[in-house]
Symmetry: C2
Subunit: 388 residues, 2 copies
Amino acid sequence: MKKRKVSVLGSTGSIGRQTLDVLSAFKEDFEVVGLAAGSNVQLLIEQIKEHKPRFVSVKDTELAQELKSTLSDHSIEIFCNDVGLEFISSSACDIVVNGLVGSMGLKPTISALSHGKRVAFANKETLVVAGGLIKNLLKRNKGEIIPLDSEHVAIHQCISGARESEIKRIILTASGGPFRTWKEQDIQKATKEEALKHPTWVMGPKITIDSATLMNKGLEIIEAMVLFELPVGKIDVFIHPQSIVHSAVEFVDGNIIAQLGATDMRLPVQYSLFYPQRRELPFNLFCDLLSVGKLEFEAPDFNKFPCLKLAYHAAKEGKSYPIVLNAANEIAVDMFLKEEIKFGDIPKIISSTMENHKPSEPSSLDEITELDARIRREVSERAKTSKI
Amino acid sequence: MKKRKVSVLGSTGSIGRQTLDVLSAFKEDFEVVGLAAGSNVQLLIEQIKEHKPRFVSVKDTELAQELKSTLSDHSIEIFCNDVGLEFISSSACDIVVNGLVGSMGLKPTISALSHGKRVAFANKETLVVAGGLIKNLLKRNKGEIIPLDSEHVAIHQCISGARESEIKRIILTASGGPFRTWKEQDIQKATKEEALKHPTWVMGPKITIDSATLMNKGLEIIEAMVLFELPVGKIDVFIHPQSIVHSAVEFVDGNIIAQLGATDMRLPVQYSLFYPQRRELPFNLFCDLLSVGKLEFEAPDFNKFPCLKLAYHAAKEGKSYPIVLNAANEIAVDMFLKEEIKFGDIPKIISSTMENHKPSEPSSLDEITELDARIRREVSERAKTSKI
């Protein structure tokens, strides 16, 4: 069988490394044609040596130059910045695994879908800020999205092509993060170290903080609306501390179909590469339900986790609100990770940004990126002048 | 839309009554054309008055006569016995709901499948004794089986047309019955009243006793082998006391898909009637996972429940062993319900019958029914002469 060609964006990040782990185990089935990374040149060089891609992209010309001199004996083309990301996503590949963090994942996704590629997708921010744009691209071209987020890949497996009228609701599960059992006033004062201790998943820092605020689940609500074309009223969140049930679909006829599995990104990565086939897992990552013992579910506490409420609000209001929610959140999380603000300031920054926002309906990529950039500037400025 | 025509076999039994409940709620979609019952003429008459079937079948000519005189003003044709069952299953209907208990469900199933009908199927004994025959019929004709057993209808929903090579195993869940937490020696002496107290499901007496011995799960293993064309090595049993997860499929890629729902037969009945569509449930039977709180799983104890071990043995040996297992079990359960033997005698009777059996490979319906009848006679005789 002909090998399928894969590009990995964000190859040195958490998703990227796990994707290359899976690809290493299936060298008979896939060829890595493109890698894109930020500034971790050391790891990127190792990845290039193992996977021998034809195209590589890094953050800027300086890093590109560094890479060129180190890899002078390899026949690869080296690009940098957005141009590189877009080229790699639209070049001679069949599948793009987009493991980029934040809204920088948007352009390469549009590029890949415009060229009819399969995009394996862990970049929920892209769907949050440009849901309408992406939906239109999917309708017009032959591209497809296979979600990599454990929740959405769960729903992708459970929904089985059902029509919206057959779906009562989808149930997104959330571990509840490190602060599930904390008191509201203690969560406000949580430190960076405490917020980075996720109980069940090992992930990058931005998504780990989003999991602690439950904004991650909030973004996933909006992501699910785009991916499965559902109204916000059909998307519920359940806290499920064991993170074994990754999500579920409840149908109008009373049947609930759920997906369960280990908490390891290599499972969704493998699923997305082989879909609609299922191939033997090369890792010892089968989920032993008997040793798990019990699975619990509880309703989320919106007072303890105001970010979830803000996300539902943005989802309901629609228009430019999801863009504002996401931009304000990215800036706030970044400031928290730099220890410039407190944990409890994150929802405050988002909330005040949304309150000050006059909604618009940006439809083109330019309009979206312009609004996104403006919101980020405003949030940063207001935060600096302590007008949180 | 044209109404689909439904026949209900065993209409006055547990499955039959619940099927008519569902059909009453969907009079726009379905027309009841045939009803077959045993001897509960009182209830059958009520059902006839409500559903106005064209064909009715009862156990014998005497009951048929009684029915005729009572319903002289209704234009229905009344049959009796096997002939009636077969006619109703092959007459002008689209769907046969077979709610018959024990091996008497076999002939009408063959009749319906031969005529290319959909059979909604709660009669696992038929699949156990005539699995090969049924599989051949399904291959040759246009008929299809939609399982009504909660476990198999769960798998029907989870398996999504996957090939056998993609399936690592199916996990049949079992509540564990009333004796899950009992000591082995106490189970031996359990009374009829104790055995009939099922913790989660309300069902007929035979299947309730089978649930207490776990033979029900054993028969379901063989049923699953036939329905999903899987080897016994790919079928595991988990005890799940809450009976919310009705069964699951574990795929080779590490993903587990499970079906969850209320413990009420009207859900699988409705699913089987509308499949592949899903229609709004007219009963308040949605499963509230938040109020369930927790789901637990444990391995079954083969020493406490030797019937499960016997069923695995019959499934592995194949040939005529499943027929022997089923016949010996039906006789033993019948004797237990008549309080002629102890609870602990049920597996002993089955075990000694299997040990004495010289395996054959009956392939025709006649050979199967002949062997089935012979085993029943032998078991009854041996039990009467206390040679258990």
